[in-house]
Amino acid sequence: MDFKAIINSPAMWLACGMMVMVVIGQSIVFLRAAFKAAPEMGLSRQDCFTAMRAAAYTAFGPALGPVVILIVLMDTLGAPTAWMRLLDIGAAHTELVSSTLGAQVYGVDLRSAAFDLTAFSYSSWAMALNNMGWMIVTLLVTPKMEGAISTLTKKTNPRLVALLSAGAGLGLFSYLLSNQLVSGKPGNVTAAVAAAVAFLLLGFCSKKFPRLREFSLGIAMMAGIFAAQAML
C-alpha cells in the first residue's frame, strides 16, 4: 500500500475514531448530568434548551473557522488524522506546528515529497505528546481549582474576587484580541471594531427582543467578518 492509501485506510479511521468517540461521549455524559442537576438548581427544561440553542448558534460560525486549514491538514496528514486532530485539543495551527516539528526531527519538511510513512509516524507522536501535556495538567489541577476559588472567595471580599477574576478573564481575551489587532493584517481592526459595535447594538436591542440574545454573538461575528472583507 502506498503512503496516501495507508494514512486514509479504514484502520487509520478506526484508530483516529477512538479519540472522536471519547470527545463526543464525554459531552453526552456531561450534558446528561447537567440536565439531571438543572431542576435541583431551580432551572427549567426550557432554560436548558435555551442554553443549547444559544450555544449552537454561537459555536457554528467559529466552528467553520478552521475549514480552510482542514483541507491543508487532510492533504498532508490524511483525512482521518485531520478529522481527529481538529476535534481534539490543540488548535488547527498548533497541530500544523507540532506535526512540522515532529517531521523535522526525522529531517524532512511536512509539505515536501520526502514526507513518508516514517515521517508521518514522527508527526503522529509529536501531536500526541503535545496534546497529552494539556490533558495531564487539566487532570491534575482542575479538581483543586473550584476549591481554591471558593476558599479565596470565603477568605477575602467576594467583590474583590469577582473583579480579580473579571480582570484576568478580560486580560486573557484582550491579549488574544490585541494579538490580532497588531498583526498588521489589513482588515483585522475593521473586523474587531465592527463586531464590537454590532454586539453592543444587539445588546441594546435584545432588551426589547430577548430572543435576539441567542443569536447576538453569531450576528456580531458575521457583521465583523463581512465588514472587514467589504472594506478591503
Binding site: 487509520m12 477512538m18 479519540m19 470527545v23 463526543i24 464525554q26 456531561f30 450534558l31 448530568a33 447537567a34 442537576a37 432554560d47 436548558c48 442554553a51 444559544a54 449552537a56 454561537t58 457554528f60 466552528a63 467553520l64 475549514v67 483541507i71 488524522t81 476535534l87 481534539d88 506546528v97 516539528l101 526531527v105 510513512l117 516514517t118 514522527y122 503522529s124 509529536a126 505528546l129 497529552m132 501535556g133 490533558m135 495531564i136 487532570l139 489541577v141 479538581p143 481549582m145 473550584e146 469577582a162 473583579l163 484576568a168 478580560l170 486580560g171 484582550s174 490585541s178 482588515g187 483585522n188 473586523a191 463586531a195 464590537a196 454586539f199 454573538l217 461575528m221 467578518i225 472587514a228
Partner: protein
C-alpha cells in the same frame, strides 16, 4: 452536601475518567503505526520530539488550563482540554448560553448552563468538521469567494465580541485592559520581541491587577458615599 457540590463532584469524576480515556485514545494512531505496521521513531527520537514539543508548549500546558478556569468552570475545563478551541468556541458558547438564560458565571446555575453550552458546542463542531471532512473539498469551491475570504477575519471578530460580552458592568476596566494589552502586544511584535508566553501571562496578571485597582478605587467611593450619608443624616 448541596446539589451544587454533588454536581461538581460528579463533573470531576466524569472529567477525570474521560480525560484518562482521552490520553490513551490520543496515542492510538501512533500505536497503530507501531504495532500494526511496525513504523515508529526510535525511542531516542521520541525523547527528542518530546523535548522540542515541551520547550515550545510547556508554558501553554500549565498556564492555559489555569487562566481559562474562571471562564469555563470545572466541567467546561474538562471538555475544553479534551476537545480544544477554548478561546474560539467553548468560552463564547458558555458565555452566550448563560446570557440567554440570564444566569451568572460562577454560580451553581451558571455552572449547569455553562456545561450545557460547552457540551452543545462540541456536537456542533463535530457536525461541521465531519461534514467538511467528507464534503468540504467539494463545497468550499461552491461558496462565493467573498464568503470564504471573510473566514480569515473570524478570530478578531469573535474575540472583540467576547471582550464586549465579558465587559458587562465593567466597561471602564475593559477599556483600560484592551488599551494596555494592545500597547504591550505592539511593543512585543514591533519593538522588543519578548516571548509570547510571557506576554500572555503579563497581560492576564495585569488584567487582574487592574481589577484590584478598580476594587480599591470603588471601595473608597463607596466609603465616601457612606460618609456623606452619615454627615447628611447628622446635619438633619
Amino acid at each position: 452536601m448541596t446539589p451544587n457540590e454533588i454536581f461538581l463532584k460528579k463533573c470531576i469524576r466524569i472529567g477525570s475518567v474521560t480525560l484518562v480515556l482521552g490520553i490513551i485514545a490520543n496515542f492510538m494512531p501512533a500505536m497503530y503505526l507501531w504495532l500494526g505496521l511496525g513504523v515508529k521513531p526510535p525511542i531516542d527520537d521520541i525523547g527528542k520530539i518530546f523535548l522540542i514539543i515541551a520547550s515550545t508548549y510547556l508554558t501553554s500546558w500549565i498556564t492555559q488550563p489555569i487562566t481559562f478556569f474562571p471562564l469555563l468552570g470545572t466541567s467546561g475545563s474538562y471538555v475544553t482540554w479534551l476537545s480544544g478551541s477554548g478561546a474560539e468556541i467553548k468560552t463564547p458558547a458558555s458565555n452566550m448560553a448563560q446570557k440567554a438564560v440570564g444566569v451568572e458565571q460562577g454560580t451553581p446555575q451558571g455552572n449547569v448552563i455553562s456545561t450545557i453550552g460547552v457540551a452543545t458546542s462540541v456536537f456542533v463542531t463535530f457536525v461541521v468538521i465531519t461534514s467538511f471532512v467528507f464534503a468540504g473539498q467539494y463545497l468550499i469551491p461552491l461558496l462565493p469567494v467573498f464568503v470564504t475570504k471573510s473566514f480569515g477575519f473570524l478570530l478578531p471578530a469573535v474575540f472583540a465580541a467576547v471582550v464586549i460580552n465579558m465587559a458587562k458592568g465593567n466597561l471602564d476596566l475593559c477599556a483600560a485592559i484592551v488599551v494596555f494589552a494592545t500597547l504591550t502586544m505592539y511593543v512585543q511584535k514591533h519593538i522588543f520581541g519578548f516571548p509570547t508566553w510571557f506576554a500572555t501571562l503579563f497581560i492576564v496578571l495585569m488584567g487582574a491587577f487592574f481589577g484590584y485597582v478598580k476594587y480599591r478605587l470603588t471601595m473608597n467611593k463607596d466609603k465616601e458615599q457612606l460618609e456623606n450619608v452619615v454627615i447628611e443624616s447628622n446635619v438633619k
